[in-house]
């Protein structure tokens, strides 16, 4: 009896501790969102979202930065999505599982832990200098693409692993080729998970500053990029400037908060998209 009571108390304490941890994390997050929302909410207006900055960026909107972030994310996606998914399919479905594949997998995991500034510097060397794309939206997009690849590959591979082996064996036993088995009986069930992981990776890329700092993002541009060779403005970099580099830092504070709010909304929006995609595809399968 006494033993049972002690065990119940231990359990209650354990659950209490776990719950407190969760509430702490939630509280920090909500406080953070509340702060940004309160200070940035006032800056948001139709003009803010659709106009270019004016008067030394003390007035006007942030449209070029929104557009630039959108554009660079599209380039990132064009590089990272197909390449990442295909690599994952090869690695998980075709490659002989052995020492070499373990090493490759380990390297990919490690690459996802490399600081983003390192990717930025690598992008300068590879895309800006060697491949002569210059400091441009293309160089920046490709750099972000490289940074996103390890995430895309890992997420896609995890998604492929969730497809039961019996689907593969079942179709092979009916005389399907390996590719048929993958295409008709593995990918349809893995793609929702692959897309979710990919969009999450892209959302992270959209919010990065360091990789685009030297490869293509501009302090201020009076025009929108007209080609892939042009520089561009981006939300995270704009925010960094408004928060730390501007000469009238107090005056532009609301703009900085407004930019932060837009950036968070954008990333949140992308994550929501990922959830919707997964939900839709899952339902279609039923």
């Amino acid at each position: 009896m006494k033993q049972a009571t002690r065990r119940k108390i231990a359990q209650a304490l354990g659950f209490f501790f776990l719950r407190v941890c969760l509430y702490l994390v939630l509280a920090v997050l909500l406080l953070f969102l509340y702060d940004i929302g309160r200070k940035g909410g006032g800056a948001i207006s139709w003009q803010f979202l659709t106009q270019a900055p004016r008067k030394g960026m003390t007035q006007g909107g942030i449209f070029p930065a929104i557009f630039g972030t959108f554009l660079v994310t599209v380039i990132t996606a064009i590089l990272a999505v197909p390449l990442g998914m295909c690599s994952a399919i090869y690695l998980n479905e075709y490659a002989t599982q052995g020492r070499l594949t373990r090493l490759i997998r380990l390297s990919i995991r490690n690459l996802s832990g490399v600081p983003s500034i390192v990717y930025g510097l690598f992008g300068v060397i590879l895309f800006v200098n060697i491949m002569r794309f210059g400091t441009s939206v293309l160089s920046a997009g490709l750099t972000l693409g490289l940074m996103t690849l390890p995430w895309t590959i890992t997420a896609s591979e995890e998604a492929l692993k969730t497809v039961p082996n019996s689907y593969r064996e079942g179709s092979l036993a009916l005389g399907a080729t390996k590719w048929q088995s993958i295409r008709t009986n593995v990918l349809p069930y893995a793609v929702p998970g692959m897309l979710t992981g990919t969009v999450l990776g892209l959302a992270r890329a959209a919010g990065e500053t360091a990789p685009i700092l030297f490869t293509g993002a501009a302090f201020f541009l009076p025009y929108l990029p007209k080609s892939l060779g042009d520089q561009f403005m981006a939300l995270p970099y704009h925010l960094y400037i408004m928060a730390t580099q501007h000469h009238q830092i107090e005056q532009v504070r609301p703009i900085a908060y407004g930019t932060a709010l837009v950036l968070i909304a954008l990333v949140l929006g992308m994550n929501m998209t990922a959830i919707v995609i997964r939900f839709r595809l899952r339902r279609k399968r039923r």
């Binding site: 052995g98 019996s166 689907y167 079942g170 092979l172 036993a173 009916l174 005389g175 080729t177 069930y189």
Partner: protein
């Protein structure tokens, strides 16, 4: 082994199988006669599942495995370089331990094997789906709900669906890898009846844990232990008058 009238449909000669460096099968020579049911029994880990999976080369997909000796289908070694493994698996179908319907409709499950072989004619597909479902004694239960997801079926129905799915591609041999280990006794009885029917048109090899099942469904029984074939004979002989002491101990329930 032959019963005088039926030649071997599929047979192995001195078959050795390695996972890495460990031999899981040690020189197994076994012939499965055409239009007969051959049961393979033995304690867990004796290599019976490994054995049956070598017959349609399902072990090819497992890394680090190696085969020595011969596996002959109609006298032709299935490891010959001119044998297409995809075509082999169409001819030698397999039903797995756990029912593994695909998350598709009942219709699409059965049609799967035909579609990957390029059949598009919906009329013909409907025909084969009905024929296969009748062949696995499932038609009456599902004919009005072919568009429903196969996961909605019970475990026993799912297994019969998997049998129908393999019938649809018109195999010559059907391998059953402990097909009843995950389903209830009534569903098991239905599948055993079905196996009796199937041997009229197909050659059947079945791995089973359940000795009563082997006695009920098979014409020949092979007893395996630790990767070796101990004894292979007519089922009645194995269960009433086995030659080996090991077999006798096993079938009388002294171990296993």
């Amino acid at each position: 082994m032959s019963d005088g009238t039926n030649p071997a449909k599929i047979e192995t000669k001195s078959l050795i199988f390695y996972y890495g460096t460990t031999p899981a099968l040690k020189s197994v020579t076994l012939a499965c006669p055409e239009n007969r049911v051959t049961a393979i029994i033995g304690p867990s880990g004796c290599g019976k599942s490994t054995f049956i999976r070598t017959l349609n080369r399902m072990n090819d997909v497992v890394a680090g495995t190696r085969v020595e000796g011969q596996i002959l289908l109609d006298g032709k070694n299935i490891h010959d370089p001119d044998v297409d493994v995809v075509e082999l698996r169409r001819r030698v179908g397999m039903v797995f331990q756990k029912p593994n319907p695909f998350p598709k409709s009942i219709f699409d499950n059965i049609a799967y094997g035909l579609r990957i072989n390029g059949m598009k004619d919906h009329r013909k597909l409907e025909e084969v789906v009905e024929k296969s479902l009748r062949g696995s004694a499932l038609w009456e239960e599902v004919k009005d709900r072919l568009e429903e997801n196969a996961f909605a079926l019970s475990g026993g129905q799912q297994q019969r669906l998997c049998i129908a799915r393999s019938l649809a591609v018109e195999p010559e041999v059907i391998l059953f890898d402990e097909p009843c280990s995950a389903i209830d006794p009534i569903a098991t009885a239905k599948i055993e009846d079905l196996i009796h029917e199937l041997k009229k048109s197909y050659t059947v090899v079945i791995v089973t844990h359940n000795m009563q099942q082997a006695a009920r469904v098979s014409d020949f029984t092979a007893f395996m232990m630790l990767g070796e074939l101990i004894e292979h004979d007519a089922t009645e002989k194995i269960f009433t008058n086995p030659a080996s002491k090991l077999t006798e101990d096993y079938v009388t329930g002294r171990f296993g």
